[in-house]
Amino acid sequence: MVHGEAWTIKEFFCYPNEYIYWTIQIVMYPFMTGLVAGAFVLSSLYHVFGVKQLKEIARFSLVFSFALLPVAMLPLMLHLQQPQRGIEVMMTPHFTSAIAAFGIVFTTYALIVASEIWFVYRAYFVETATALGGKRERALWERILYLIYRILIMGAWDISHEAREKDEKAVKIVAATGIPVACFLHGYAGFIFGSVKANALWMTPLMPVIFICSAVVSGIALCIVTYTVTMELQKMISARKRQQKPWLPSTDELKSAEVLVVTMTSKYLLMFLVLAITLEILDLVFRGYTALKSWDILRSVIYDKDFFKIFVLQYGCGNAIPFVLLLLPRLSLKRVVFSSLLVLMGVFMMRWNVVIGGQAFSSSFAGFMEYRLPVWPGSMELFKEGLFGALLVAITPFVLFFGLTRILPVFNLKDSP
């Protein structure tokens, strides 16, 4: 069977070779890179612009952003027909293609995030390693940890006041260079779509900007959700521990700190949300007003075929409702989390409506194609480009995040930058 045939339903006249070639994984890809970029921007708000209220969430989102990084690449590998050749993007890059920049931008970005984490955590590494080194007998687990930390320290054992000041300065610089790179990483994902002149829905110079804004929105939203969930877990654990160790912070103390951080963060969420919606609406209005040749078919896709997905799920549930919820007085933790979840869904639907919606009509402008998401993974192809492949991509960052926090704890580190 031809690639794409299993999930494409054609209606009226489509060219014979047309199928939905870019499927759920290409929806996941900008969604995941968006989360990466968003989480990083959130952490930079503290590290670069010194928004003190975000201190707690900043370290958290930095590590989370790092956990998300490999997952931005995963959907691409699952999507490629020849994944084993993916490295060629670095070997013979063809820079007239937007995708060619991926290898370089992605690596640069990964290195920036990694070195920022290194600067943030170096003091902790040294302290922990010294503590472990001082121990007489070490369990196997501790021995492994000791080894890992020693490698991570890279011989920089100096944690004098001056050295740590240098760290702090370096964090600031690295985070500052990271912001444009994060925006570039994601803006260029938008460029991949926006520059396809053969696709009437995708081709708009606004695409990269729209992508960056919605990326920041989704990144912040996910950080809020994950942060709250981990904090809740922390509370449960500490409540149990406090029975033996009463000097630990009480549940109420944790709670008040949490609410402050989350409501503060939600303000930034709101800000970027307004920007994202404005740009998307502008794009829509502009297309309708200029009404080029493609508008007839675009209109029938936007207002008819995909009406539910675009206006109900994306704009309604994903944008309008959380917008109102976040603006209503007496903001509670539950409401912020609920709104954030809606926002995440909304951004996902936006990616869906761009990627799948852009292929919902034939480039003959005389026919439609419908994407039926493969659910049961009957073959490798159906797994990769179906529901379970997408779930795999969605779950991986949390697993990675859990693993990372074994080495890079994100809570209760009082005196690191």
Binding site: V2, I9, P16, N17, Q82
Partner: protein, 261 residues
């Protein structure tokens, strides 16, 4: 302290100063000038389709699939034939069942919807067939977007795909406004019409041209002014598909109609 006036002046100067060497690069790129002077290739393949002559027999599609080893029953094809029927009520019906591999043998219009549409003979305002194939554009957007250099244009104008280098991202498929590209069902890399490069480089004609009994398909060398195909393209009224994309397609059509997509 720098005042605003000064700042504007300096900014303009710097921007202007930076623009000059850049524009010079564009204007006096010696490689490009050289290339334009001494044309490296004596050949530029072009295609001519006469839609008046096409009867929709689909022998071209059959020959193409076999010649180029595209699995015969796979629903993809390097070339295909479209049928256009404009009814008296102004509605246009278009179809290309299996890319017209088996020709058009029924008045029923296969558009993937049940029941198939059918226009009564007396209600047909006009009806005709349009063969399609890769346009081997002068500005091929599919080549521009390939991230690894797996697809490229030869000096004689044919766009090829390197099957050992293609990563299968599908960007070229998305980038083609004509829908000529697809994934090869066996090799799982991008695939497209290449004017039967193995035939034309041996002095033969492409398989579809040879298979066409009606002379609806012809291939020629645009750089040879005496080539009969070039003569037609130069002296008669020919059209191309989707000119607005700026791709400069090199498949020319006689008898195009505004309904043709």
């Amino acid at each position: 302290m720098i005042d605003r006036r000064d700042f504007c002046k300096k900014a303009l100067l710097i921007a202007g100063g930076m623009a000059i060497p850049l524009s010079a690069l564009e204007l006096f790129d010696p490689k490009r000038l050289q290339a334009e002077k001494s044309d490296p290739s004596p050949t530029r393949w072009a295609f001519l389709v006469d839609t008046y002559k096409c009867v929709g027999c689909g022998f071209c599609v059959k020959a193409c699939k076999i010649e180029n080893e595209i699995p015969y029953d796979a629903n993809v094809t390097r070339t295909w034939v479209e049928r256009y029927i404009v009814a008296r009520d102004g509605k246009t019906y278009i179809d290309s069942p299996k890319g017209a591999r088996d020709g058009f043998t029924s008045p029923k219009i296969d558009q993937g919807v049940e029941p198939p549409a059918e226009v009564r003979n007396e209600d047909i305002e006009k009806a005709f067939f349009v063969p399609k194939l890769c346009n081997q554009c002068d500005n091929p957007p599919c080549v521009q977007v390939c991230p690894v250099g797996a697809t490229y244009q030869t000096p004689d104008g044919v766009v090829l795909v390197d099957r050992s280098w293609c990563i299968g991202c599908g960007y070229c498929i998305m980038g083609c406004p004509y829908g000529v590209r697809f994934f090869h069902p066996v090799y799982h890399v991008a695939e497209k019409c290449n004017f039967c490069y193995h035939r034309i480089s041996k002095g033969m004609k492409s398989a579809c041209v040879d298979a066409c009994p009606f002379g609806a398909r012809r291939i020629g060398n645009l750089k040879d002014p005496n080539d009969p195909v070039t003569r037609v393209i130069m002296t008669e009224r020919v059209g191309v598909l989707k000119e607005e994309y700026g791709t400069k397609p090199q498949v020319f059509y006689v008898g195009l109609s505004r309904e043709v997509k």
